[in-house]
């Protein structure tokens, strides 16, 4: 772990599912503190790509480095990276048999060996940050979707990661709950968290992204700062996608 190295450095990444090539030679660099939004049609490989960064998917070719550490077959380096890279999922994936507080303290206590009292204090701080400290004693099944996703963000933050990955965090939410989750994400972005977000929320992208990346068919088609990306897209495919997403 070298915090002066680029947060994420991906070179020529390939990924296959059987004969199907999901990722074709992806190159991507994310600096520390940078906010990157990835968009693209479904099946374009954007989720697959960010799931490679914490090795929920194994890649078949190319290199991934996180803060200079190469992700290879060395299980130790994978564990090390996962401690520093948090992830928020589309389906929340909270642990249903544990309370909100236990969800938040489990990993710090088991992985970082944080004493319980300290882990709980940290958890309460992040639950306050996502504005649901009063739900700490409840089980995930008793919360709304928006509340669950905010707990999931707090859970990831409790490991005090250097990078947060978001995999379509608002896609499974009812419309009226999207804003409360995006608000939390905006706050995190403003505080300087390194973020890679796969999302279709173009308003969010315009507001906080340093760079927007458009993927299609397993390739990065275009990447640009949000102003340029939304107002003057270079590629025909990007223009088509934007007209479909923003067009109504």
């Amino acid at each position: 772990m070298d915090l002066t190295a680029p947060a994420i450095e991906i070179r020529n990444l390939d990924k296959y599912y059987g004969a199907f090539q999901a990722l074709r030679g992806i190159d991507l660099r994310v600096a520390r503190g940078e906010r990157v939004v990835i968009c693209g049609p479904s099946g374009s490989g954007k989720s697959t790509m960010i799931r490679c960064i914490n090795q929920l998917e194994e890649h078949d070719g190319g290199e991934i480095r996180v803060f200079g550490t190469l992700l290879d077959d060395n299980l130790g380096s994978i564990d090390e990276i996962r401690r520093e890279v948090g992830m928020v999922f589309q389906q929340f994936n909270l642990f249903p048999h544990m309370t909100v507080l236990e969800n938040c303290t489990l990993a710090p206590m088991l992985v970082r060996r944080t004493p319980r009292t300290e882990a709980e204090a940290v958890a309460m701080r992040y639950l306050e940050k996502v504005r649901i400290p009063d739900q700490a004693g409840k089980y995930p099944g008793q919360l709304s979707g928006g509340q669950q996703q905010r707990v999931a963000i707090a859970r990831a933050l409790c490991m005090q990661p250097e990078i947060l990955l978001f995999d379509e965090p608002t896609s499974a939410l009812d419309p009226e709950m999207i804003a409360e989750v995006l608000d939390v994400m905006v706050t995190l972005a403003q505080e300087g968290m390194t973020m890679v977000c796969v999302t279709h929320e173009m308003g969010f992208a315009r507001k906080v992204a340093d760079r927007v990346i458009f993927m299609d068919n397993g390739e990065i088609i275009e990447e640009a700062p949000p102003g340029e990306f939304f107002d003057a897209p270079k590629s025909e495919r990007t223009r088509l996608f934007l007209s479909q997403v923003l067009g109504h």
Binding site: R82, M87, F89, F95, H97, L110, Q142, A152
Partner: protein, 359 residues
């Protein structure tokens, strides 16, 4: 009509609707009630009203009345409960049963659910049971495993099956879903092989064939070989039950645990297994009930467990007529244990889903 509270009125209406809602259902209700009453009367007559309770009654006395002759239990209960265990030492058997029951009850209490406490309880329990039953130390006369019998033997086989079989089942289930294809496939074969063998053939193999195949120092007591065989059989079935539980746990659960940096064992122990167990609980309780009943099969390799001890109890010229009473007594003992097990299963299910229901 005036003073019936509303809730009761609702219940009455519900009752009328459910049982007397149509002509057909009224007839079914009346017929069922008639059958149940007839059965109850018959059982009551036999077991209580026309029965002989006097402990000193002989066959002749019993024969004068048409009901059960409970004198057989008074005369033969020690044979039923303790089998061929030496008569003078049977207090040790009784104490050993008590120890097993206490250990089981303690480990069912949530406050004992930590690795340290369970290990301590079970370690102590096993040691006391073994010393009591086998003796040879502390001035207790040595009693060989061949002479163990009745309830303590049944409980020993059942508990040992669970204690050995359950961890084995978990390991097999985890190996079966290993990411290494070789491990997964070989485990699958092992499970399928054990499942395709009848339990009886496994018992015979362990009791009779193994001693010829194993080197001398590995042979050990027949009882332990047999228990190992039953545990293996139990584990093969239970592993599949746990695998079913695994399949009900969403993949995202394990991914979330991975993303938080949890290594394999904590991931399994804290996230995947607890959820899989919850899903597998009804089938698991079922498997334990079956395991309890199947302990009676060890009679074929020469062990006098509870049911076999019951057989021995009435197989004397004097009591040959009273086999129904003996079987009723044995059945009541099985029922007490299995019913307790079922109720405990229901309690666990309620407890596990308690906090997680939507309010």
């Amino acid at each position: 009509m005036t003073a019936i509270p509303l809730a009761r009125q609702g219940r009455l209406r519900r009752l009328r609707k459910d049982f007397f809602g149509s002509t057909a259902s009224t007839m079914m209700t009346l017929a069922s009630v008639a059958v149940i009453l007839a059965l109850l009367r018959w059982v009551l007559n036999w077991a209580v009203l026309n029965a002989t309770f006097s402990a000193s009654a002989t066959q002749a006395v019993c024969a004068e009345r048409s009901g059960a002759c409970w004198a057989v239990i008074a005369a033969r209960w020690r044979v039923i409960l303790f089998g061929i265990y030496p008569y003078e030492e049977q207090w040790r058997s009784a104490l050993a049963c008590a120890v097993v029951v206490v250990v089981i009850v303690l480990s069912c209490l949530p406050r004992f659910w930590s690795f340290g406490r369970l290990a301590l309880t079970w370690g102590f329990g096993a040691a006391i049971f073994y010393i009591l039953m086998r003796g040879g130390v502390l001035g207790l006369v040595r009693v060989n495993e061949q002479q163990w019998g009745g309830l303590p033997l049944t409980l020993f086989i059942f508990v040992a099956t669970g204690v050995i079989g359950m961890p084995l089942a978990i390991v097999l289930a985890l190996m079966r879903r290993s990411e290494l294809p070789v491990v997964a496939r070989v485990t699958g074969w092992i499970i399928d092989t054990i499942r395709s063998l009848p339990l009886l053939s496994i018992l015979f193999t362990c009791a009779i064939v193994l001693p010829f195949m194993l080197p001398g120092f590995l042979v050990g007591e027949k009882l332990y070989r047999v228990v190992f065989g039953i545990a293996l059989f139990f584990a093969a079935y239970q592993a599949e039950i746990i695998r079913g539980g695994f399949q009900g746990v969403p993949r995202g659960q394990e991914e979330a645990a991975k993303a938080l940096g949890l290594p394999y064992w904590p991931r399994m122990a804290r996230i995947v297994l607890p959820q899989a167990f919850r899903l597998a609980l009804p089938a698991t309780i079922n498997q334990f009930v079956i395991a309890f009943m199947e302990t009676s099969l060890v009679v074929v390799v020469g062990f006098v467990e509870l049911l076999a001890a019951g057989n021995t109890a009435y197989h004397t010229g004097e009591w040959k007529f009273a086999y129904i009473e003996v079987y009723a007594f044995v059945a009541a003992i099985y029922f007490a244990f299995v019913f307790g097990l079922s109720r405990y299963g229901a309690y666990l299910e309620a407890r596990m889903s308690a906090g997680q229901r939507k309010e």
